[in-house]
């Protein structure tokens, strides 16, 4: 559990003192004019900038506030974590998109399930800059993740993997991949899944970027052709992959949103600035919509806070993360839709987009398109609604009675 025992194991700092420290550090260290520098650039320049920014954050101890005590930058209380994310958002520092999966998905999964050897090997490497991607989805296994078909066969001390993954964010830059594979034919299909850690430089791995509607290619396909993975790279037991994957998904759905909701709150200023710029700051209808959005964004921050509190105290219940994610994704869609509406016709003219910003960069058309990240990836809104209805409200599951006509 992330953050467990944090209060007792590291000395706690007065959050307001920490705030001053973080603020001063950010003033000194956030790359000047990074937005301009990251607008209209290619992926490679962006990747270089991300590596540099990540290294600086690590050095200062601000890259891993959500990690438990005993790890560099970890062991922070709820209040401290909030202060760091608030200040990072306030300073409009670049977001660590390239390290997103490494810092959250990979780290949280390994903290919970990894053997001491796996933790000792992979977690320090994350801090040193290893990039991870997530290889769960397949062309025929999206929402129905458990139906995935990429096969791993145990031969001696290694698994041999064949199959295809898709939509894997940043796969083209990743050093390692969280790979969910089928090792057995058991029913229900969840029982036959196993969780592996794949070295992306292994023989038989190839990645093809996918062109996205924004003109970017943030995700890609991964083809796996007789790829060998040593058995010590298995997380959990064989057949336990589904349970391990739930940790990955919970971190993606809940924990990442502590930072993103703070970013969203700070980005409200972009809408206000846009209203001024477009000369409609006095428009009563728009003010009403903005006020409604403010309350929803505040609620998103409050939900993420409560989620983190529950997680730290070990009270997280099934569905809690889904609620945070669903509220965030719906609020984000409303946010960018309002931005797009106010930006008017000029907002329809094609403009270069900025890499490494929050979900609200002020290029409203691109922000609008990218907001689907949060309504589709990590389990779509509809899937979150199923989880909330079934696991929190106790409503029955869909009957499995359909047969092809």
């Amino acid at each position: 559990m992330i953050g467990e025992g944090s209060a007792s194991m590291t000395q706690q700092q007065d959050p307001e003192l920490l705030r001053l420290g973080v603020r001063a550090w950010l003033e000194q260290n956030v790359p000047r004019n990074w937005r301009a520098a990251m607008t209209g650039t290619g992926q490679d320049t962006f990747v270089r900038a991300q590596r540099e920014w990540f290294a600086r954050l690590v050095e200062a101890g601000y890259a891993t506030p959500h990690w438990p005590a005993g790890w560099p930058g970890g062991g922070r209380s709820l209040a401290e974590q909030k202060v760091i994310y608030e200040e990072v958002a306030r300073a409009d520092a670049p977001r660590l998109i390239l390290y997103f999966v490494a810092l959250y998905h990979a780290a949280c999964t390994l903290m919970e399930w990894g053997t001491p050897e796996q933790k000792g090997r992979y977690l320090p490497a994350i801090i040193q800059g290893d990039i991870w991607c997530q290889g769960f989805s397949e062309p025929n296994a999206g929402s129905d993740l458990a139906s995935l078909r990429t096969r791993a066969e145990l031969r001696g001390d290694r698994y041999v993997v064949n199959g295809q993954k898709t939509w894997s964010t940043m796969a083209q830059y990743a050093d390692r991949c969280l790979l969910l594979v089928r090792t057995g034919a058991s029913q229900p299909p969840q029982g036959g899944l196993t969780y592996l850690l794949l070295d992306m430089r292994s023989k038989g791995v190839s990645v093809r970027p996918i062109a996205q509607i924004t003109g970017d290619d943030e995700f890609g396909e991964i083809f796996l052709d007789d790829v060998e993975i040593p058995i010590e790279n298995r997380v959990g037991r064989e057949g336990e992959g589904w349970a391990v994957a739930q940790s990955t998904l919970a971190s993606e759905r809940g924990l990442t949103l502590v930072e993103l909701t703070q970013r969203m709150r700070c980005s409200l200023g972009r809408i206000a600035a846009l209203m001024q710029e477009r000369g409609c700051a006095g428009d009563q209808a728009l003010r009403r919509d903005l006020g409604r959005l403010v309350a929803k964004v505040d609620a998103a921050c409050a939900l993420a806070d409560r989620y983190l509190t529950k997680r730290i105290s070990g009270e997280e219940a099934p569905g809690d993360a889904s609620i945070v994610k669903l509220w965030y994704s719906r609020t984000l869609r409303e946010f960018v839709a309002l931005g797009l509406r106010i930006s008017g016709l000029p907002g329809q003219y094609r403009e270069d987009f900025t890499r490494g910003g929050s979900q609200e960069t002020g290029n409203w058309a691109v922000d609008f398109m990218n907001s689907y990240n949060w309504t589709i990836a990590g389990g779509s809104d509809e899937i979150q609604r199923n989880i909330i209805a079934e696991r929190m409200l106790g409503m029955p599951r869909e009957p499995k009675t359909w047969t092809a006509p």
Binding site: A272, R288, L290, A295, D298, W327, A389, M392, P396
Partner: protein
């Protein structure tokens, strides 16, 4: 939440459940006073339980859950006001009001005007949405025009009560008319800047009380709705099996959780400093989100119940009517969203 508050809250839920939904006002009021619920937010040094605003809101939530027909919000606002006045007169008033003497407070911004005529402050106009005013000894009046907060005895000449039956049968609202009623100096709670601060503090608490009532009512109604869908069968299956209905319930649950989190977040942010810069906006956001959530949840709940939801025996309509009224109480209802935008635009 403190352990004490947690226990208080649990026992309140238990007691109210036993009493039943929307139980009669007199018996519920007796319970409220006997069990000391009016003391929850009163500071310990004044003989209260010292649970502050969060404590009060925990009770508003529970009373909202039970659709309680008591003027608890109105009473506790007045109690809070007398807790904030100068030490000289405070103890006596606190003692009287927490023992069950009821001083009522309007639940909406009213139009009464205090003015100085011939060297004396007099009151004229109407205070509206005053709960159970016929049971009260005094009314708490905040006059922004004259910058004063005062208690006015309801048996004073020139004060007249009009009962205004509402669709919400769990509350009894009155208009209180004032025709040149002289304000007594001994009953004056605050003047000028003190009065402005007190008015603000009262508005903040009223917003939070309405938000809490809404969160409580919405929570209870969602549970009932899901239970109903689990038991009602159509097409040879429980309605709860239909995904179209499951997803609507999940959305309602998410909206409820968000409003509740925002209420708790606002309470944390405000703490004991009702005069802190962000306090008003935090309370407005909580009130706006919770009351609009309650109204739309209640609207959906009735639809999800089908025909039975339109019958008077079924409690669905009680929640709906209370929710619709909550939305109209507090500040002028259409000011919340623009005010939140202003707070943002002004804070830049």
């Amino acid at each position: 939440m403190s352990e004490t508050l947690h226990q208080l809250r649990e026992s309140a839920r238990h007691v109210l459940a036993e009493l039943g939904l929307a139980a009669a006002e007199p018996s519920t009021w007796d319970l409220v006073t006997e069990l000391g619920w009016l003391l929850v937010a009163v500071p310990e040094e004044l003989g209260g339980l010292g649970q502050g605003l969060s404590g009060a809101c925990a009770f508003h939530t529970e009373l909202g859950r039970g659709l309680a027909s008591v003027p608890y919000a109105s009473a506790t606002l007045a109690i809070d006001a007398v807790c904030r006045i100068g030490a000289g007169r405070r103890a006596d008033w606190v003692q009287r009001l927490t023992a069950g003497e009821y001083v009522c407070t309007p639940l909406s911004d009213s139009t009464q005007i205090a003015r100085v005529a011939a060297g004396k402050l007099t009151l004229r106009g109407v205070a509206s949405a005053v709960p159970s005013a016929d049971k009260a000894s005094h009314i708490l009046v905040c006059s922004s025009a004259a910058d004063c907060v005062a208690l006015v005895p309801l048996d004073r000449a020139g004060v007249q009560l009009t009962y205004r039956p509402t669709w919400d049968s769990t509350r009894r609202l009155f208009d209180v008319h004032f025709t040149d009623v002289a304000l007594d100096e001994p009953l004056m709670l605050a003047r000028e800047t003190d009065a402005q601060a007190l008015c603000r503090a009262l508005s903040i608490q009223r917003d939070l009380a309405l938000a809490a009532d809404s969160v409580g009512g919405a929570g209870a109604l969602l549970e009932r709705t899901v239970d109903y869908l689990q038991t009602r069968r159509q097409f040879a299956r429980p309605l709860a099996l239909f995904q179209a209905l499951k997803h609507r319930c999940a959305d309602l649950k998410t909206q409820l959780a968000a409003a509740e989190a925002l209420l708790i977040g606002s309470l944390d942010r405000i703490g004991d400093s009702l005069d802190a810069p962000g306090a008003e906006a935090a309370a407005k956001a909580a009130k706006y989100l919770a009351c609009s959530m309650y109204a739309s949840l209640a609207e959906e709940a009735l639809q999800l119940h089908g025909g039975i939801g339109m019958t008077v025996e079924h409690p669905c309509h009680l929640f709906l009517k209370r929710a619709l009224l909550n939305q109209q109480l507090g500040r002028r209802p259409d000011c919340y969203e623009p005010d939140l935008a202003d707070a943002l635009l002004g804070g830049l």
